[in-house]
């Protein structure tokens, strides 16, 4: 259905368990380069769990076990010799709730590149990231203010800028707009289109319109299983599975 040549990430038979409870079951999924992949599905179906497995953020949750492989350009992220810190340099993440550091706006964006010794002028890097995240105009005169004084929507864009400043290859977003008003949401969606030129994006969303508007591919999950995966157009207009159709047309549950 999808050409598999330029897959950046590939989940193979991935099963993730919390204790004994399997939250993700036998998922096979390819993430394509410079495309936006949306993951949709009812609450608790395992979207966040699957997303976190792509940059090893599940490592921080106790009692998580994972089977299968996640290949990143032919390397399994979970191989013995792979350093999870390095994995996260390639795979940036934006969380569901804005979580800026309780520090200045500048420090929020600059901290990651600084501790990792990324090359180039840090001021330019911060400015570039803030511009990409469509926040620069609003904060350029108060970079030393606390990030906590920003509005929720601004904070979320700051978190996006923080991820962008690292220039990762893939950006993982877990419902980045769930705490935002329609205006901020629209701005972030615009931003996604721009980012697509240079980045590969995986976005979890509960918003069907958003998924159909912004994504190239859509994965539909239900109780841990990947039910359907394909072109967004196809998934939303000609779903192959009855359950997908019920969900995307709102007849679910």
């Amino acid at each position: 259905m999808i050409n598999s040549e330029n897959a950046v990430l590939e989940a193979r038979d991935v099963t993730i368990r919390y204790g004994g409870h399997a939250a993700v079951k036998n998922v096979n999924l390819s993430i394509y380069e410079k495309k936006i992949t949306a993951i949709i599905g009812p609450s608790g179906c395992g979207k966040s769990t699957l997303l976190r497995s792509l940059n090893r953020m599940n490592d921080f949750i106790d009692h998580v076990t994972q089977d299968g492989e996640i290949l990143y350009r032919d390397t399994n992220l979970y191989d013995e010799g792979v350093d999870p810190v390095e994995v996260r340099l390639h795979m940036g993440m934006v969380f569901q709730r804005p979580n800026p550091f309780p520090k200045s706006i500048f420090r929020n964006v600059a901290w990651g590149p600084t501790i990792n010794g990324l090359p180039g002028d840090i001021n330019l890097r911060v400015e570039r990231a803030l511009k990409q995240a469509a926040l620069w105009e609003e904060v350029k005169d108060r970079l030393d203010d606390s990030a906590l004084n920003l509005s929720g929507g601004q904070q979320q864009r700051l978190c996006i800028a923080r991820a962008l400043a690292m220039e990762p290859e893939v950006i993982l977003m877990d419902e980045p707009c769930s705490a935002l008003d329609p205006v901020s949401t629209a701005r972030i969606e615009d931003l996604l289109f721009e980012l697509k030129q240079n980045y590969t994006i995986v976005i979890v969303t509960h918003n069907m319109q958003q998924a159909s508007r912004v994504s190239d591919y859509t994965a539909f999950m239900e109780s841990g299983t990947l039910i359907e995966y394909g072109d967004t157009d196809q998934v939303f207009t000609r779903p192959k599975q009855k359950r997908t159709e019920d969900y995307v047309t709102g007849r679910f549950g």
Partner: protein
């Protein structure tokens, strides 16, 4: 099931008997709370007034600068005050880094294993062990086994044992209060654990940690039993020059004066209590200041 409003459109002003009863109970409870608070505060006020009346006349530069003496008019707290300051400073130097590092380990590094749980529960229990027990331990280990004699160092190490559990527990709480979302955000930009702890966890937790440390040290200042146990002297006519010197401390000096028959010495004891309270209040003020500065940022 049909859902309908329970008041069914009645107008206001028809308070039911049950609601009236609940208001009465609420007022009674409030009166009870106020009563007991007033009682506690007035007992405290009375104590302070009594101590002030007895001790204030004796409180002057001479009292602070003289060593103890058989003659009340010549007696002072110099050696006891210095001894207390020595012990508290050394205790802080020993217990602060140990306690904070242990708390960081338990909160951020230790695996969530049964062993960790057992250790945490035991630390909590240690906080409730009577101080005299620490005195016995200090006597056996520091004074006898390590041969530190009745030195400031032996006293400080014993005090450190006594307050370590309190410091660990309050530091753990302060560290746990740092939202995990911040830690995760830091990891997500490629930080190592040490970078997360150093740049995000510690800075956010430090006000809470310091407040806990100072409160623990305040407890150490008032402790007498463990110091008597390890053999701190009751009559000292010199100030400690180093950690290996012998010493006395304020509560010991106060106890010593209070147990003499002459009334003048009882008044001296009151003056000593005022000095001890002043040291305590200074440290508590410091804790408040640190917390205030920490929350301002």
């Amino acid at each position: 099931m049909k859902i309908s409003p329970s008041t069914n459109g009645d107008s206001l002003g028809h308070r039911s008997a049950s609601l009236r009863r609940r208001h009465v109970v609420a007022s009674l409870f409030k009166a009870l709370c106020i009563g007991f608070t007033l009682f506690a505060v007035s007992v405290l006020g009375l104590l302070i007034a009594q101590v002030g009346a007895d001790g204030l006349p004796w409180l002057d530069a001479q009292f602070l600068n003289n060593f103890p003496s058989r003659f009340p008019e010549k007696a002072g707290v110099k050696s006891a005050l210095y001894g207390t300051l020595w012990v508290v400073s050394l205790t802080a130097l020993i217990a602060l880094p140990m306690g904070v590092l242990a708390a960081i380990y338990l909160e951020d590094y230790a695996p969530a294993s049964r062993l960790t749980r057992v250790i945490e529960i035991n630390i909590a229990n240690l906080a409730g062990v009577p101080s005299i027990v620490y005195g016995i331990l200090g006597l056996a280990i520091f004074v006898r086994f390590f041969g530190l004699e009745r030195s400031v160092l032996a006293g400080a190490m014993t005090m450190s044992l006594l307050i370590l559990p309190v410091i660990i527990i309050s530091s753990k709480e302060a560290i746990r209060a740092v939202p995990s979302s911040i830690r995760l955000a830091a990891y997500a930009v490629g930080a190592t654990q040490w970078q997360v702890v150093r740049s995000h966890v510690l800075p956010a937790a430090i006000p809470g940690i310091l407040t806990g440390v100072i409160l623990a040290l305040s407890r150490a200042i008032g402790e007498t039993a463990p110091l008597i146990m390890i053999g701190a002297l009751t009559y000292v006519a010199f100030t400690p020059e180093g950690p290996m010197d012998e010493f006395t401390a304020l509560p010991i000096q106060i106890f010593n004066w209070a147990s003499r028959p002459q009334a003048e010495f009882h008044e001296l004891a009151a003056a000593g209590i005022i000095v001890l309270l002043a040291v305590l209040l200074t440290m508590n003020a410091l804790a408040v200041l640190i917390r205030y500065k920490g929350t301002q940022k």
